[in-house]
């Protein structure tokens, strides 16, 4: 298999790290050349947060302050929407001629994907920082101490990491512009069929069940719990074990898509 040939040719395992770092630097250099895109990328989720806080008036079916209820969900939604950002980036990258040069060089071929994932994770950390800052400004607080808050951030980034590898694999399997558009549209109903904007108990039975088992809902419930924000468990098994599911769902996605994506990338071009 070409994957084995590539790795054998790479020689020392140290090159895995060195090549991954080189490819991460490539992504950072792209940022440095396009600062406006970074700002827009950060402004969009902030705009959503403000829109849902003030215009739509979220938090139906739940008592308490809108911002307290909404912010954890919006953070999780931003992580989940990272799927399309990653997919778009990988789709665009794969159409570029430079990928051929990478693949014809004696480098660790997976480093292209590592560069992508480090860059996307850094972008997500920045997004979380900006959004929690804005959330603070509109009245959201964490109530259970720093450790629990950091645990919540960890769960959010884990969700993002799962979306990352799902997005990479989707881009390689079906990475055409129209597919990216389809995913961009589909993430919205998936995002809304969750407990981000309303408690599952306020929904009709079957819909409520779908919402409770939505991987994103587990993260939202767990994050709310860790931050000490309202809208906690509704009493179902999924809701009661939200923290377990908030780890299990993303880990399962990563376990499936990470090896698939790495293998697939090494075989691009057949």
């Amino acid at each position: 298999m070409s994957a084995i040939g590539t790795r054998a040719g790479t020689g020392a395992a140290g090159w895995v790290l060195a090549d991954s770092w080189t490819m991460t630097r490539r992504e950072l250099a792209h940022w440095a050349r396009q600062p406006v895109r970074i700002v827009v990328g950060l402004a969009f989720p902030v705009m959503l947060l403000l829109m849902f806080t003030y215009l739509v008036g979220g938090g139906r079916g739940v008592d308490g302050d809108h911002a307290e209820f909404l912010v954890p969900g919006m953070l999780a939604l931003t992580m989940a929407f990272g799927l399309e950002a990653t997919m778009l980036a990988v789709t665009q990258d794969l159409t570029k001629g430079v990928i051929d040069r990478f693949r014809a060089m004696p480098m660790f071929s997976g480093s292209v994907l590592v560069g992508r994932s480090v860059a996307d994770m850094l972008q997500s950390v920045a997004a979380l920082a900006v959004m929690t800052g804005v959330g603070y400004a509109v009245g959201w607080r964490w109530h259970n101490g720093l450790t629990a808050a950091l645990g919540a951030v960890g769960l959010l980034l884990l969700l993002r990491f799962a979306m990352l590898w799902t997005g990479i694999q989707l881009a390689m399997v079906a990475g055409r512009p129209e597919m990216v558009q389809a995913v961009q549209i589909l993430v919205w109903p998936v995002g809304f069929l969750s407990n981000v904007f309303a408690a599952p108990e306020s929904m009709p039975g079957r819909l409520g069940a779908v919402v409770e088992w939505n991987p994103m809902s587990a993260t939202v419930t767990a994050v709310r719990g860790l931050f000490g924000n309202p809208g906690g468990s509704g009493g179902s098994w999924a809701a009661a074990h939200a923290e377990l599911l908030a780890v299990a769902w993303p880990v399962a996605l990563i376990a499936v898509f990470f090896p698939l994506a790495v293998r697939r990338f090494a075989r691009i071009g057949g």
Binding site: G5, T6, G9, D19, R26, H30, G97
Partner: protein
């Protein structure tokens, strides 16, 4: 470990794209330190052959080796020894020229410092030192090609693949690429270049393989191939279409006629003598010509000649 082997070996290589045949038993042997041209029309399989040799594409069958290493099972060894100038630019368009070269140097495991030194050296050598910071997407076509060539030379490869290196370049850009290739060969690099232009193969290559439909139709030195085509051609455009036949009779044997364009094409053994003779004969016969020219055979004509399809030229 030094392996004594030809620089490139393709032995009965087959490749299909979803059932569509691209290579159909391609054979090719290239000796070390030589320049070999793969000449063929669009769709002949040139790019497919280059992509297989540079480990980007896996052959369906047959043997493909570069300096003795199998492109499938020893891809890493192959990649360490080759440079690739693909048909389309393989550069990061958003980054600057220097950033590109430095990145490729690092990925070739030169280490950060040597990668930087190498990048600066190549930028200077290809006349890009002043534009090293500009993003590649703002480069002209010729600059981009030069940077792409520089990138494929980042480690002084043993074997260099050039896939249609001058297609789309103006005459000056073409001359620049040609002189770069010539200087490389002096340094002992083996070059496999593909082209649609007979003249390019003629100018640069020690040997030429003419391919069509994914297999070799003819190969040899430029001279042996040209001898088989019959050398230069003379074209005469007569003013009066009714004189086409009588004019053709005055020219050498083997003339072909194109009534729509009032054109006669015929083999020209000796350029000067054929031209002088034709002008005099036409004048004496009182036939007026709008155009008379002696030229090299076109790829089509080489093709026709070597595949025995001459008859169709007249059609």
């Amino acid at each position: 470990m030094a392996r004594v082997a030809d620089a490139i070996v393709l032995d009965d290589v087959h490749k299909r794209y979803r059932g569509r045949r691209a290579l159909d038993g391609l054979d090719l042997t290239v000796g070390r330190g030589t320049v070999h041209a793969v000449l063929g029309p669009n769709g002949a399989g040139k790019t497919t052959a280059v992509r297989i040799l540079s480990t980007l594409l896996r052959p369906d069958g047959g043997r493909a080796e570069v300096v003795g290493f199998d492109v499938r099972s020893e891809a890493g060894e192959v990649r360490r020894r080759i440079g690739l100038l693909g048909q389309h630019a393989a550069l990061d368009e958003q980054l600057g020229g220097r950033q590109n070269l430095e990145m490729f140097g690092r990925l070739h495991h030169l280490g950060a410092r040597r990668a930087g030194v190498r990048a600066d050296g190549l930028l200077a050598r290809f006349g890009l030192a002043d534009t090293g910071r500009k993003p590649v997407k703002e480069y002209s076509g010729g600059m981009r090609r030069r940077l792409d060539l520089a990138a494929s030379l980042i480690t002084d490869p043993e074997v260099l693949f050039l896939d249609e290196p001058t297609t789309g370049l103006d005459p000056r850009g073409r001359a620049e690429v040609w002189s770069s290739v010539r200087s490389l060969v002096g340094g002992g690099t083996t070059v496999l270049l593909t082209t649609q232009y007979l003249e390019e193969a003629d100018q640069l290559a020690d040997r030429i393989s003419l391919i069509d439909g994914g297999r070799v139709v003819a190969d040899g030195t430029a001279d042996t191939l040209k001898a088989r085509v019959g050398g230069d051609r003379i074209d005469v455009v007569v003013r009066d279409a009714s004189q086409l036949e009588s004019a053709a009779a005055l020219l050498t044997d083997g003339a072909v006629l194109d009534a729509d364009r009032r054109l006669i094409g015929a083999p020209a053994g000796d350029r000067m003598a054929t031209l002088t003779r034709a002008v005099r004969a036409l004048q004496e016969a009182g036939i007026e010509a709008d155009d008379i020219a002696v030229r090299r055979p076109t790829l089509d004509e080489v093709f026709m000649a070597l595949t025995g399809m001459d008859a169709e030229v007249a059609a």
